[in-house]
Symmetry: C2
Subunit: 421 residues, 2 copies
């Protein structure tokens, strides 16, 4: 969304409130709907009810929401964040028009501070059964990442990277951008041949294999998703990398031994903020005195729980930290932060590629699961694009080493050389 | 210092403690000295007392400290951090050998957590008369920055930049590196012709003049040091820039109006951690919706007060924040951190250039002040090199904008183009 459009959205929110007061919808249901829109900060959209009542906060709108029953409207009033997703998934709520733009408009219009206390309480309640204990993490990770490699293969890139890519230009293909991300990370940690590299939360193993193949690193990669590990081991054998890459089915808290570099790409979101010091202690235990580290994670500008529906239906136990919260990993043990890069818009673009492939694979997803599943995952992907575009989510890459170690490059220029290797 | 030497220092600390216990110095004074060295973590050094007693924690050492009286030794025992500086300045303590290396060894050997509670209490006491209220800040800044432009001219670069330079390579001259810093900052905030730029804490005005001359920005620069403002205004007139650069003698808290970019280079150290939210509110009040900002500040890996002697004699009211503490500026008001770069070693090198020039100008400094002043400032410069080299101090450049604004470059590659403008 352009910044001009953004200004228009913000202005519209004010206008709409006025407009709606001048033309109040006649029915009691219409008045309930009015309250819902107020609670959402009056984003630009049209809502049509089962009885034909219709309110547009302004014209033109990106999309129209159709609510099919009074029960659905009541649920939305009680907890719009949670029930919008469920209603969309089961079809009691339909969206006509641009789903991503609608959700981005909602993110941008949402009043920030107003509901934050309530949102934290709801979040605590949602998280209460999903704590990231050793067993809890295993359950939480299983629920998402063990959905089946065949499912993820339908819409991820050929190397099955399920984290933010790095687009040197927005025109890069998803495959190019995922490879560029792997290269960017290797350069950031100044990986060298023979380095022992630990990776915490390795997904389907693409980074581990890249680091071994292109940098000659000796990699040990940890993950608690059984399906991902099985896939990664099979591919490693096929590539003849089994002497240089080992996949261990183990929680990050149980990592021991010694490494020259420590990387974690897209795991911190699942660690939970109460465990950051433990993660720091694991790194402190394993990382060489001259070692380099990188943590890549979805984050926030302000502390806020993850969207309640995402936590309940998609990512149990997940929490995106602010930079301040991430410092719990580094400060207590005297790590030194060398570089932080925010790649928020790269994640929005990555997700656009995923959503496009996902829609192309719609029939095959439907054959594997059912219509509510298809719709829920569409909403999750579209909502994530919207959240990154609107700045409701960030993507931080943090490079660190031990305090006082001076073998670091003078500048970051080496990250941008076209033929650095 | 190489990382190998560092390992040696750390190993030596352990050996030395053992050694000293095996050969305890005979006299009671020697035993007091032993306690002092233990408290310092047994850095590699030799200490010789007025009575001829001498202890080396190991051989070889970078330097020998001569303590000329029992009174001086007692003071060092009570508060080494504070009294080392005073004793060095008044000559009751002499250092023979490499002063910078000695101080770096001390920084590296110092036990971290042990004395931190006490250090915070001493710091609170030292700060108690130096609070950064509007009047307090004016007094604090006056004490350091109004020492006289003639004094600073003796050892700063030709543009009087008194903040960390940016060395594209370590071989760059100080003049090249200071210009490169100005350019680096302008690129980071993507300064454009016609932009209104606010600078909080502008020193002698070099950045403001650079931004106007090379980027066509319209600059308003704020400072509470009268001497600096007078110098900056005079130079601005000489350069014919008075239509594009205005210097205002005013505290950052009183900045009002509207800007497209907000920069502060080397002021945050003097703001005081209890005022970061106020600074954030000032930026929030002034910065355009699409505006960009940069804060450049000395920092820490862990929260710790600034060296007590530096606070008492050199920089009253100063405090270098950790990244977590800096987030008080950004998080409460929903700014988005785009980029953090740690330039610690660049500051060590900048300070080496300053110290070299300072030593060359020694006679002229002596003619302006007196021997204790000459020695105190040598210690401050040498100690700062040591602190940045040892990782006791960091230098953070933080780039930010408002949450959710998307007109940002895809990558940071534009910072590293040799002819970007």
């Amino acid at each position: 969304m352009s910044d001009e459009h953004l200004e228009a959205v913000r202005a519209a929110a004010g206008d709409a409130a006025t407009q709606a007061r001048e033309h109040p919808p006649a029915s009691p249901d219409g008045r309930l709907l009015r309250r819902l829109l107020d609670a959402l900060g009056n984003p630009p959209l049209r809502v049509t009810l089962w009885n034909g009542d219709s309110i547009a906060t302004r014209e033109p709108v990106a999309a129209t929401i159709r609510i099919s029953s009074r029960a659905a409207l009541f649920k939305l009033l009680i907890n719009p964040e949670l029930h919008f997703g469920d209603a969309y998934a089961d079809g009691t709520l339909e969206v006509e028009g641009d789903l991503v733009q609608l959700l981005e408009d909602v993110y941008r219009a949402l009043p920030h501070a107003r509901s934050s206390g309530l949102r934290h309480r709801i979040s605590d309640w949602l998280h209460s059964g999903r704590r990231n204990t050793l067993a809890g993490s295993r359950r939480n990770i299983h629920r998402h990442y063990d959905l089946g490699n065949d499912f993820y293969r339908l819409w991820l890139d050929r190397d099955m990277l399920y984290t933010c890519a790095y687009f040197a230009t927005p025109q890069a293909t998803l495959e190019q951008a995922q490879t560029a991300k792997l290269e960017h990370v290797c350069r950031k940690i100044r990986l060298r041949a023979g380095d022992t590299l630990y990776e915490a939360g390795c997904g389907w193993g693409a980074f581990a294999m890249y680091a071994a193949t292109h940098y000659g690193a000796k990699v040990t990669a940890f993950n608690i998703s059984r399906e991902q590990i099985a896939f990664a081991r099979e591919r490693t054998r096929a590539l003849g990398l089994q002497d240089r890459v080992e996949f261990v089915e183990e929680d990050y808290r149980n990592i021991s031994g010694h490494c020259d570099a420590f990387v974690s790409i897209g795991m911190l979101e699942h660690v939970g903020r109460e465990h950051y010091r433990e993660l720091g202690a694991v790194i402190d235990r394993c990382l060489d005195g001259a070692g380099r580290g990188l943590i890549h994670s979805i984050g926030r500008d302000r502390p806020e729980p993850l969207n309640a529906w995402i936590v309940k239906r998609i990512f149990p136990g997940a929490y995106p930290p602010t930079l301040r919260e991430m410092m719990d990993i580094f400060e207590p043990l005297g790590f030194s932060v060398l570089d932080v890069e925010n790649l928020r818009l790269h994640y929005a673009l990555t997700l656009r590629h995923w959503l496009e492939r996902y829609e192309e694979a719609r029939e095959r997803v439907l054959a594997m699961y059912d219509e509510p599943f298809v719709r829920a995952w569409r909403l999750y992907l579209a909502g994530s694009i919207a959240a990154f575009n609107a700045g409701a989510l960030q993507l931080f890459q943090v490079v660190f080493n031990r305090s006082g170690y001076n073998d670091v490059p003078w500048t970051r220029e080496h990250l941008y050389r076209s033929a650095a290797r």
